[in-house]
Subunit: 223 residues, 4 copies
Amino acid sequence: MEETTNQSNAKETSRLEAFSDGVFAIAITLLVLELITTLHAENGSGLIQTCLDHWQSFLAFTIGFVTIMVCWVNHHVAFDYIKKIDTKLIWINGFLLFVVTLTPFPTAILAEYLAKEGTTALAFFGFNYILISVAADSICTYAYNHHLIAETNREYYYSYKLIYRYALFYVLIAFAICFISVVAAITMYALLFAVFAAPKEFASRVHKIRERKRKNRIKRRKQ
Amino acid sequence: MEETTNQSNAKETSRLEAFSDGVFAIAITLLVLELITTLHAENGSGLIQTCLDHWQSFLAFTIGFVTIMVCWVNHHVAFDYIKKIDTKLIWINGFLLFVVTLTPFPTAILAEYLAKEGTTALAFFGFNYILISVAADSICTYAYNHHLIAETNREYYYSYKLIYRYALFYVLIAFAICFISVVAAITMYALLFAVFAAPKEFASRVHKIRERKRKNRIKRRKQ
Amino acid sequence: MEETTNQSNAKETSRLEAFSDGVFAIAITLLVLELITTLHAENGSGLIQTCLDHWQSFLAFTIGFVTIMVCWVNHHVAFDYIKKIDTKLIWINGFLLFVVTLTPFPTAILAEYLAKEGTTALAFFGFNYILISVAADSICTYAYNHHLIAETNREYYYSYKLIYRYALFYVLIAFAICFISVVAAITMYALLFAVFAAPKEFASRVHKIRERKRKNRIKRRKQ
Amino acid sequence: MEETTNQSNAKETSRLEAFSDGVFAIAITLLVLELITTLHAENGSGLIQTCLDHWQSFLAFTIGFVTIMVCWVNHHVAFDYIKKIDTKLIWINGFLLFVVTLTPFPTAILAEYLAKEGTTALAFFGFNYILISVAADSICTYAYNHHLIAETNREYYYSYKLIYRYALFYVLIAFAICFISVVAAITMYALLFAVFAAPKEFASRVHKIRERKRKNRIKRRKQ
């Protein structure tokens, strides 16, 4: 059994990725159903007026799409480094998928309650984002601690892991701020999306800063 | 044609897995649609009140998610060992997929009838779980009896097959118990989920116990 | 460019299969949504009564599932032999996918109109099955005529192609018969499902009969 | 890390393709839900009358299916040439997926408003097609400019890239024309579908014309 372990691991990783990809793809596509229901709400007004009346639905669709897409990009990069999986990682990933499948729900809340109860609606969305961040942080930390990544990438992966720890604190603050100002919180989420749209580039920058600091420390010691 | 059989089998297995993964992924993601419909039930109360009123929907979503996820994890492990497929296995697997695609239905029943008709709602869910167990048991038994697994794993796979036979009797008992006590039945399902969340680890433990017993038997004979 | 053709073809085939698998998996899973809507039809009666009232929905779900599953099994076997694809095959396959994505519609018709307008409802379903048969026949004939299958399998594939031609005539007759007797037509479809559940075995049997006839012909000529 | 780049790129490309395939497959299959809702609109008339009353829904389903299918075929061909991906391409592709997941919405608009507000409904659909064209053009241009395709295919890919630039101008004109004549615009879209159903063949033809022109130019210079 031992000699087939490597191959078996590769197969396992790819099936977990395929299943996760399926969940991401469906969750992101189901968002449109909420948009279509706006058409069914017969109110006598014309097509353009109906669409203008439901501008929050379009905004929510876009926010929901970007949320899940950013999530997929980060999942994709994280599993590029992960070479082995075990039962615990499957379930930590399962928790991430749980939150991803849930995401169309806070998105629908945004669409229907953003105008009426902005703060509460955004708090639901923010809470969802806290759960996503907890899941992302757990996946990276677990993979790092249990040596499920290639040893050659270990040092770099530490920086990668770090950015999800930062993100977790960031979304906790954004959640709190939404009770003070909805606009400020939305700006914070937009900024988060912009940075985590390119997790590799962000992690590289963090990695370079860490490397520079380490070299400086060594230099100082030598002096 | 003979020389390409092995490769062809590998391709067939992976397509069956890919198709099954698709079905699992969609069934698990469709659960959220039932959650979203709760938002559409306009009843004049605020967002938080609406969510609190539908706590069963959230519970049902979680139960449905865990059910399908546990099912996927076990399917994933089972097909890790299965190296060949034939038409009968495709259809036994097809029966499993039938029950998986059906699962959002008893989940929706839980969401809408748990408060009103708890026993009947749980009985529907329990019946669904009996069907899942029959399918899981059939896949493992068929693959074992028709030598569709690698010969080197045969002894170990027997233990693996055994736990699904146990599970089948367990869910039959849980089904009966739900007519006596809903809480007791839910506890039994929670325990089942906990054990089958890690089927490899569970099968390994069963395998070790069987090995120890076998050695003891041999020892006794030698004495 | 020439040297990479083989590899590129393999990649193309697998992407076409993956996309088709996705469509099959989703179409088969969407069927449950029609089942769930029966729960939302509040009519004051209890859960069991509601389910009994909608027995046609359960029958339709089963028929729809078996239809798409049989379709997938046959698609799976057909593409096991197909080694190359071209733009025309993509579009013939696209026509099959069109009918597969459409299938939940006649299934929903069966669920809602089988009791009220049995003949018309079954005619819709039968028309859908004619389209599926045309698509299946076209894929096999096109792949055979344009040498998209391995040459070594060519003789065998002819028998395989033959069974879809038979099937096409069969479903045309079943469609006509449904206007005379709904029960007779349903029996014909059940028989069709039973035979095409194992297309490889059916094609092999047809192939053996053809081989025997050919040998007899050669024998007779020699005499 | 450098030596694993090629393999890692192949894996990344295939995961992006798998995720995109999932999104395409779901978007194309969700279209049927809009068809099924027509059945639920109880109006007392029989099944055939109900279907005849909703002929626009069937037309819209067909148009939506062909739109997404053409889109998939072109995505499939484009990524056949793309050998590397980077974060920017993931997001350009993400924009394409955004429009693809959105497509069931203008399709539903066509179904419900084609008879009532033909011009506006078609304008929504046309705007959606402009977005698709912008995305397709961006993917090809970015891949070409950033050398993400194999160098051997570079010259040919230029022709390929060219047809999407043409298409972009074409759909802009079609969008404008729909305000003058709905029938003329629909004819233009049908023509576009016919040509882009076989993007490889179309690009080859454009490539041959370009080659002939180039040779003529060289000849003239020599004279």
